[in-house]
């Protein structure tokens, strides 16, 4: 089957993801959602503890790899090469999966992927599926789509299970329940898990044992499993899932039918490329030298594992992202979540403030890329600004995605889209235009600077006598304003040194 997927060059960019399907956007702009999160004491404490623990673990295991920087370069180079030949690689992957007895389905968007998976499950006659932790299926809202068709989907990753039982949303790519403490987890289990001991203790071993008992029955009963994929190897048709608990392995091996939903950017050219990523991923994500379970499978094998295998290749806005030379580097992401753990914004607001299943620095890039920027007040339009551009994310990214540069680029796309849809410039755009005009000429700038020194009389003990308008009042809400000096630097220079130095003005 030939396809438009992953074929950006010389064609109309693919459509953006529909923000109404799945979970790529929230319902509030970031500053508003963040304000509530910042006031949640328990959330702040849980996040500070969890992110600092995992940061320290990562730093330690990364420091012990002598060729870490070379590995990052290799990861980045493999991904760049992959993106440059994505159509060919996807067709190669399709051919090799089918040669080994699997079936490949192409999904343009979330709705199409959900329909394909629903139809495949219905064809088995089963009304339940067990699920391996997967970002792609969270992105498209598969569980909700299956539920609407009368099929129950059971998350088997412990943290995803906590989120699912708590009727909650994931707040971290790797640790979806990072916002929950163990006493909250105990409360959720006692309330939601059928047959659980009401005197369940809240120590990790007791909680894990309760989840184990709950899940084991489902594994033995399940006839259909749904997974995502960390990697799809084009040359062999091999899919791979990397995990810690072994619950994924149960799903991948016990049921009769396995359905894997994979974003098209997860393809890698060769088996050997896994050598690089299987070193980069666990150290970056869980801070482990090696993750406990790495499953790989290709097609079906008679008498061993699932006898029916379906691979759903998901676009959902990715081809559109691929069309932009800088923007496409965001598709290099291997979902390790190292950038979340080091982000000073994420550490304080948590993942829900971002609205999308992809939170943190990479989410602030990917979510608006996938849904598109409108230039209006849609929640995803606020995400590129949810960063102080401190650059900690870029430093830890195992595939060297320059997230600060991408955020800056998306901010430009946002303001340009806004300019296109307005007849008059926004107040901010007008102020920026005026500032750029004043700054384009030293005489004008000198006059503006002198005017600013006059503002010193408008500030008393750090507070403006007249309250500042939005958004500048955001400054004085928590910080004193600097008192402008009596004389600008350039006036001091002219007064003390004369105009003889420097160039002729």
């Amino acid at each position: 089957m030939s396809t438009f997927l992953g074929m950006p060059r010389g064609r109309v960019p693919g459509p953006p993801a529909d923000p109404a399907v799945g979970q790529l956007t929230g319902d509030r702009e970031f500053p508003d959602a963040a304000r509530d999160a910042l006031a949640d004491t328990r959330l702040r404490r849980n996040l500070a503890h969890a992110t600092s623990t995992i940061r320290a673990k990562r730093a330690q295991v990364v420091a012990e790899v002598p060729d870490w920087e070379a590995l990052r370069e290799a990861g980045s180079a493999i991904k760049a090469a992959t993106m440059a030949q994505l159509p060919e690689l996807l067709e190669q992957l399709e051919a090799n999966v089918e040669a080994r007895g699997g079936q490949v389905h192409w999904a343009r968007d979330a709705a199409e992927a959900n329909a394909i998976v629903t139809r495949l499950v219905q064809a088995t006659g089963s009304d339940e599926v067990v699920k391996v932790k997967s970002m792609a299926t969270q992105e498209i809202g598969l569980n909700e789509a299956l539920e609407a068709a009368g099929i129950s989907a059971l998350e088997t990753d412990l943290a995803e299970l906590i989120v699912q039982l708590g009727h909650d949303r994931p707040s971290h790519i790797l640790v979806p329940a990072i916002h929950r403490g163990r006493s909250e987890i105990r409360e959720i289990f006692v309330r939601e898990m059928p047959g659980v001991d009401p005197h369940l203790r809240d120590d990790p071993a007791a909680l894990a044992a309760a989840a184990r008992a709950h899940l084991r029955a489902a594994f033995l009963r399940a006839r259909v499993a749904v997974s995502g994929a960390n990697f799809g190897v084009a040359e062999t048709g091999t899919l791979s899932v990397v995990e810690s608990e072994g619950n994924g392995r149960m799903c991948l091996t016990l049921p009769q039918t396995l359905i894997t939903v994979m974003g098209i950017e997860k393809v890698v050219p060769t088996w050997r490329d896994l050598e690089v990523f299987l070193q980069l991923l666990p150290r970056s994500s869980t801070g482990e030298r090696m993750n406990p379970y790495t499953s790989t499978w290709a097609g079906v094998t008679a008498g061993d594992g699932p006898q029916e295998f379906h691979l759903v290749l998901l676009d959902n806005g990715r081809t559109r992202v691929l069309a932009d030379e800088l923007g496409r580097t965001a598709l290099h992401c291997i979902r390790c979540s190292a950038c979340l753990n080091v982000c000073p914004v994420y550490e304080r607001t948590g993942g829900h403030a971002y609205g999308s299943v992809y939170p943190g620095p990479i989410g602030a890039v990917l979510s608006p890329q996938l849904t598109g920027l409108t230039g209006g007040h849609e929640p995803n339009d606020s995400l590129p600004y949810a960063s102080s551009l401190c650059g900690a994310c870029y430093d830890v990214c195992p595939v060297k995605i320059n997230i600060p540069d991408l955020l800056v680029q998306l901010r430009a796309e946002h303001t340009e889209a806004r300019a296109d849809r307005r007849r008059l410039p926004s107040p901010e755009a007008a102020a920026m235009k005026a500032a750029a005009w004043a700054m384009a000429d030293a005489q004008r700038f000198a006059r503006a600077g002198r005017a600013a020194t006059m503002a010193r009389h408008g500030i008393r003990r750090g507070r403006p006598i007249t309250p500042l308008p939005r958004p500048l009042n955001g400054w004085t809400a928590s910080r004193d304003a600097p008192t402008p000096p009596a004389e600008t630097f350039r006036d001091w220079w002219s007064r003390t040194r004369g105009d003889d130095s420097g160039d002729e003005s």
């Binding site: 000073p344 000096p485 350039r490």
Partner: protein, 250 residues
Amino acid sequence: MRIALFVTCLGDVLFPDVGKATVAVLERLGHEVVFPQDQTCCGQMHTNTGYQRDAVGLVRHHVDVFERALADGCEAIVAPSGSCAGSVRHQHAMLARRAGDEELARRAEAVAAQTFELSQLLVDVLDMTDVGASYPHRVTYHPTCHSLRLLGVGEAPLRLLREVRGIDLVELPAADTCCGFGGTFAVKNADTSTAMLADKMSAVLTTRAEVVTAGDASCLMHIGGGLSRLKTGVRPVHLAEILASTSESP
């Protein structure tokens, strides 16, 4: 060495003492400082707030001004700001390329190659760590994100501070965590910025320092603004001002 001072727009209008201190340090070390009076702003605020088209005009202006300074015999351009030097070095050519102006990009690269943040110039270019300063105060140093991660100044500011007479230099806990300034982030996401500031201030307070220093007036304006609002009594002082202090003129 003949050195052109890029004082930065913030340094010119709000913090002239930082520029004066930069001049004082370099002149004390025997260098000639010139101030190209046509200079205005590197355009970073425009770039980072999404106004790249406006920024390109400022990039062109900056390149015109400092290209002339280099042609006029200056061997280096110094900025008392990691962030502005970072923008010149990292963003100017990129902005020109995105605007389709390859010639401007190449000229911007030439200017960027001669542009240094103050501690970089002193330590890496001029090979100085003892600049003859005296500053008998308890001081903690915050490495600003752009000096640390965009420019990679590394230990240069600390090496300079360690040589200052009388200084009681105390390490800042979690020093490399962002203070929460982030340019317009500080007002667009004022609550998150404030939460980050609160943690930075509590780190500063645990050091019991009288003075918090950094290589960027902008981050110091934010940290100092918070410290002042809470009446902590801790003062923000730019690195250049500490290096300019001597026992004769503290």
